[in-house]
């Protein structure tokens, strides 16, 4: 598969940028997402989806990262949607996906920072029913979602359970948060009754879901980083000090170039990971497992994209000087989102370690050799 985006994907990216560039960070882009049919992208036609590629999905996430538009896209389409599609039983998929695919209903995935586990316990209440207890913090769109797809530790280990957000025994709240552009709620279960919806092999399938979520988020981080770099370049090209535009000083110029290099590396790693995340589906629309190879590519994307986004947001503020530190300037939203993204699914250390572990445990690396590229 080519590394670069297709012409159609580039067109989509431009369209999204055009539509969303006039919206201030944190403002609602959900209506335009539904209007453009973007919620349908990663789902098979059988569920009402557009049968798009994972690459298409990352284009949307990149666009959202560029603008920080507010929408339950990560939570409902990427997290809960992909968890249902890949790891829920057949009946649940048939029942719930159409609403999520069309954007008519939203769902949130209640999970811990590692995605495949959470702080929620499930005890058998009745046939195919669990009684849920526990508190999970930082649930993306956990208060606003209609449906909660819960990763829980049940009698058979990791399970998926489904509960309406308004069901008895469910308490949801949003307090102050680092990043105000994305809702991170505390979701509390106190004996709430939930339906058991795990499909076969749920633990390993959730592992793949996790990889896909990480790659989608990494795409958002790349979009965020690019936008910060653009703002900083624009400012450095106009702001005058000491009789010259500040972008002509090496101290500024080289800072911006280092950002560009970090973004290029992150972006190409995300593109590579996203081509590994394309779904190979069996007849029932269940994804084929991607396994450790996908996990490793997702970890690489996660690490490089987190670094690029955080550094871009930080350094863009520095390039802007005092104005970048004001409430009025949008950069603090980017800084906040960058930090939240960096920590949403755990900091990078375990991801770096997981890459290192698979390398030293004999999977090895092939030595990339010099390829003479003709001009």
């Amino acid at each position: 598969m080519p590394i670069n985006l297709s012409t159609e994907q580039k067109d989509l990216a431009e369209t999204l940028d055009d539509v969303w560039s006039r919206i201030a960070p944190g403002h609602d882009v959900w209506p335009s997402i539904r209007e453009l049919g973007l919620t349908e992208i990663p789902f098979p036609e059988a569920t009402g989806g557009a049968d798009g590629t994972f690459r298409d999905l990352t284009v949307v996430m990149t666009g959202l990262g560029r603008t920080l538009g507010s929408a339950p896209y990560l939570s409902s389409v990427v997290m809960a949607g992909l968890a249902l599609l890949d790891a829920a039983d057949r009946d649940t998929r048939a029942e719930l996906l159409p609403g999520i695919v069309s954007g008519a209903r939203t769902a949130a995935l209640v999970c811990g920072p590692g995605i495949v586990t959470s702080a929620i316990r499930g005890e058998v209440a009745a046939e195919r029913e669990l009684s849920l207890t526990g508190v999970q913090h930082a649930v993306v769109d956990g208060e606003s979602a209609e449906l909660l797809v819960v990763v829980t530790h049940g009698p058979d280990g990791t399970e998926l359970a489904l509960v309406e957000g308004s069901a008895p025994g469910v308490r949801r709240s949003v307090g102050e948060q680092l990043d105000g552009t994305r809702q991170l709620a505390t979701v509390e279960f106190d004996g709430a009754t939930a339906r058991r919806i795990s499909g076969p092999d749920v633990a390993s399938r959730l592992g793949d879901v996790r990889s896909r979520i990480l790659i989608a988020l990494a795409a958002e981080q790349v979009g965020l980083a690019r936008r910060c770099l653009e703002m900083a370049v624009e400012y450095a090209g106009t702001r005058q000090q000491f009789g010259r535009t500040i972008g002509s000083f090496q101290g500024i110029k080289h800072k911006l170039v280092d950002l560009l290099v970090a973004i290029e590396l992150a972006e190409v790693t995300v593109l590579d990971a996203s081509s590994g995340a394309e779904r190979g589906c069996d007849e029932s629309g269940t994804a084929e497992p991607g396994g450790t190879e996908l996990a490793s590519r997702a970890a690489a994307a996660r690490v490089l994209a987190s670094r690029a986004a955080m550094t871009a947001a930080e350094e863009a503020i520095q390039v802007h000087g005092g104005i970048g530190f004001t409430w009025e300037h949008p950069l603090h939203h980017y800084f906040r989102r960058a930090k939240a993204d960096q920590l949403l699914f755990g900091d990078e250390y375990p991801y770096v370690q997981s890459v290192g572990e698979s390398l030293v445990h004999g999977r090895g690396v092939t030595r990339p050799r010099r390829v003479s590229e003709p001009a």
Partner: protein, 408 residues
């Protein structure tokens, strides 16, 4: 080199043709070289050559013989037109061949060969006279003769246009006086591509002219410089009353800056793809394993870091190649590639040194340990060679990001 590249083929016939070409490449290589078996290969950590003069010459001669053999068989200068001994094939063919060749144990390609084939030959194709093209291109592509660059000076490195070597016209010839430095491979080259100041009154970028200089000419003296890594690849070249016929002039009088930029452009494109010098992640894993360190989280972390950037760079090079094949004009990709590469050289060297600790301070006689000094001491050099990190960042900032220029 755009003039020589035929547009990439698409469609069924193109794909079939490429498959057939791959098979032909493999058949030819099979008949000539042993397969590369990573396990049996002695690891090599040097970034610059740290060899004695005769050993380095032998290395170059091996590389030259292989280059000539490749060209003669149609696998050496394949994107060049038949007129120059090429086959007029596409960039895709070249890439496929390069991929297949990696499976075999090829003689090492010294940078002197790279300069001659990938930098000087295409510069002459673009800017040389008919006579020069006839005289030089074939021998350079086959490396029958080698050519070095005579660009930098003690007073003009990064500010190349500030050079002061003088070329004074005297009827149908030129008299050259001055000193060049950092001329890689000058001691092994038959020719040098020289940039000299021909008009001291003109603004500094305007008054320069380029020449081909026979390195055995009277008044040309080459003095190797010993590098911090131990070897002597670079040289000082002293030019004292060197007389050059006007037919050795490359481009118009006063057009030397354009010649220099053309060569440097090829250099940047070419340096994006260098990944093969020094140690790398696979070597780090082997080292950590042999030292019994793979259980340490810090060690695994450093191995992972090296791998992440090494892999990202390989993807980046492939991505740029893909864009170029689709018709994009190369911009700052070469500079980005070089920065990423030299940063990872440092990352790998620092990791190896930290794994080795005391064992890199003094040779214990144990194989594969002290040898890493070759990498450690070579890495700083490539952050300067071919345009320093600061120059690459200026290029990327100004041409890639459109930031205002440095005051000059």
């Amino acid at each position: 080199m755009t003039a020589t590249v035929i547009p990439a083929e698409t469609g069924q016939d193109g794909a079939e043709d490429l498959r057939a070409f791959e098979a032909a490449s493999r058949a030819w290589l099979d008949s000539r070289l042993p397969r590369r078996d990573a396990a049996e290969q002695a690891p090599k950590y040097s970034i610059f050559h740290n060899l004695g003069h005769e050993d380095e010459r032998a290395l170059i001669d091996g590389g030259r013989a292989w280059q000539a053999e490749r060209v003669d068989a149609g696998f050496g200068a394949m994107t060049w037109a038949p007129q120059w001994g090429g086959r007029g094939l596409t960039a895709s063919h070249e890439r496929i061949y390069a991929g297949v060749e990696r499976e075999y144990l090829t003689p090492e390609r010294h940078e002197n060969i790279l300069v001659t084939v990938e930098l000087v030959a295409p510069t002459l194709l673009e800017l040389g006279s008919d006579w020069q093209q006839e005289r030089f291109i074939r021998p350079f592509l086959r490396t029958d003769e080698l050519c070095c660059q005579l660009f930098s000076e003690p007073g003009a490195g990064s500010d190349l246009a500030g050079l002061s070597t003088r070329a004074v016209r005297d009827g149908e010839s030129w008299r050259v006086n001055g000193q060049k430095v950092w001329s890689s491979g000058a001691q092994f080259s038959e020719w040098g591509l020289l940039i000299a100041r021909s008009d001291p009154a003109a603004p500094k970028h305007k008054g320069m002219t380029a020449f081909m200089v026979p390195m055995d000419l009277e008044g040309v003296e080459v003095r190797p410089i010993r590098q911090m890594s131990g070897g002597s690849t670079f040289n000082e070249v002293f030019l004292t009353d060197v007389v050059l016929p006007d037919e050795f002039r490359v481009g118009e009088v006063g057009d030397g800056w354009r010649v220099a930029l053309t060569t440097l452009g090829f250099e940047r494109q070419s340096s994006a793809g260098i990944v093969d010098a020094g140690g790398n992640t696979a070597d780090l894993i082997r080292l950590a394993t042999s030292l019994g360190l793979t259980g340490a989280a810090e060690v695994r972390g450093r191995i992972a870091e090296s791998h992440l950037y090494e892999r990202a760079q390989a993807l980046l090079v492939a991505r740029y190649a893909e864009l170029e094949q689709a018709g994009a004009v190369p911009g700052v990709e070469g500079s980005i590639g070089k920065l990423v590469w030299t940063q990872n050289l440092k990352r790998v060297g620092d990791a190896a040194a930290s794994f080795l600790g005391h064992r890199i301070l003094a040779d214990t006689g144990e194989a594969d340990t002290f040898a890493w000094t070759q990498h450690l001491l070579g890495a700083p050099g490539y952050r300067i060679a071919g345009g320093s990190d600061e120059i690459q960042r200026n290029i990327i900032g100004e041409r890639g990001l459109g930031l205002p220029r440095e005051p000059r």
